[in-house]
């Protein structure tokens, strides 16, 4: 073997050694990035439940109660002239329409929220499909490697070594050179992509924390409003029958 080829093989060994560390560090970073994304996803789902179920249920009951109180207040009116009677009827109709108008606008927004959830579901499904594809690729790669192990163990490796000459060795060393260069370039690109995703995940995490605070404060506001509507209900109830 020429000295030049030996040097090239040794250089490749060094480059592979360095790349191994770099690539496996990337593997670790991918796991961390995915973990961070999963944490954000779980947090986003928690906030979704808080906003769409808990807080929404509370505000729905408030809306029912506030209009129930309004109807009772209107019902308490005792008109004495035809104009006053017409006022009572038209005001009752106005308030019913106001409620329905509000509900229909809210329904439109609910449809938009449902569309977003469908979009999110599709994206999660796509991510699952990508994971499934990755698993298939790794499965195939390991299957091939296992077959090759068996062949090597059964004498193929020894046969190839015995047949080795300068030309085949040169070809293999050159191929390794290209392979290592490709690995290094891809690993460097992956590292940059990972760091960008880390920053994005950190920003997303902060934004989720802010949203969580906002939803908690919204719940406090709802509870304060509940007290206000209950106070109104108590005063209205006293007009029906004082207990």
């Amino acid at each position: 073997m020429s000295e030049e080829l030996q040097n090239q093989a040794q250089r490749n060994k060094r480059l592979i050694f360095d790349s191994e560390s770099f690539v496996y560090q990337n593997v670790g970073l991918v796991s961390i990035a995915r973990g961070r994304a999963d944490e954000n996803f779980s947090e986003a789902m928690r906030l979704y439940t808080l906003a769409s179920t808990s807080n929404r249920e509370l505000i729905m009951r408030l809306t029912d109660d506030v209009y129930r109180n309004r109807m009772q207040i209107l019902d308490n009116l005792q008109p004495t002239t035809p104009d006053q009677t017409l006022y009572k009827v038209s005001m009752t109709n106005r308030d019913r329409s106001e409620n329905l108008d509000h509900r229909s606008k809210v329904n439109r927004q609910l449809i938009e929220a449902s569309d977003k959830m469908l979009e999110a579901y599709r994206l999660v499904k796509e991510a699952a499909q990508i994971f499934s594809g990755i698993n298939d690729t790794m499965l195939e790669h390991c299957d091939d490697a296992a077959d090759r192990n068996a062949q090597y163990f059964d004498g193929e490796l020894l046969r190839q070594m015995q047949q080795a000459d300068a030309a085949t060795n040169k070809r293999r060393v050159d191929e390794n050179d290209e392979l290592v260069a490709g690995i290094r370039e891809r690993a460097q690109g992956n590292r940059e992509r990972l760091l960008a995703r880390f920053n994005a995940a950190a920003a997303e995490s902060e934004s989720l924390t802010d949203m969580g605070d906002r939803l908690e404060s919204q719940r406090s506001e709802i509870m304060a409003l509940r007290e206000k509507i209950d106070a109104n209900r108590n005063r209205v109830a006293d007009t029906i029958f004082k207990m």
């Binding site: 007290e227 206000k228 509507i229 209950d230 106070a231 109104n232 108590n234 005063r235």
Partner: protein, 121 residues
């Protein structure tokens, strides 16, 4: 003796009026059915204002008004007082709202009526 009804949905609105004017606020609240109110005049000086003029003590105009209102009234009453009685302008006064734990309605013994209700009749 009947048990006093305790209300747990009330707020205490307090106005400090540097230029007085509590009576007209009381009138305005009364028109909205709010009777649990009172005010008093105070001595002292608002921050940043001299307590005397021409070596004579200033005649205090500051009045402090308290009104107990239901929780559903507090927001609109607060807003009404803040804007209609110029509490949004500097040097006129200040207004606060506090949650009360328990309150009871102002009721008089049987046979005794509010002067205002006699006036209405």
């Amino acid at each position: 003796m009947s048990e006093v009804q305790r209300l747990n949905y009330t707020r205490l609105i307090t106005c400090v009026l540097y230029e007085g004017g509590a009576e007209s606020i009381l009138e305005s609240l009364y028109q909205r059915g709010i009777r649990e109110t009172y005010f008093y005049s105070t001595r002292g000086k608002p921050i940043g204002r001299a307590s005397e003029a021409g070596n004579l003590p200033e005649i205090p105009k500051t009045e402090v008004l308290h009104a107990v209102v239901s929780a559903d009234q507090s927001d609109y009453i607060y807003s009404m007082l803040y804007h209609d009685f110029r509490l949004n302008e500097p040097g006129v006064g200040m207004i606060t709202v506090h949650r009360l734990n328990l309150s009871s309605r102002l009721t008089l013994p049987e046979g005794v009526a509010f002067v205002s209700s006699l006036r209405e009749e």
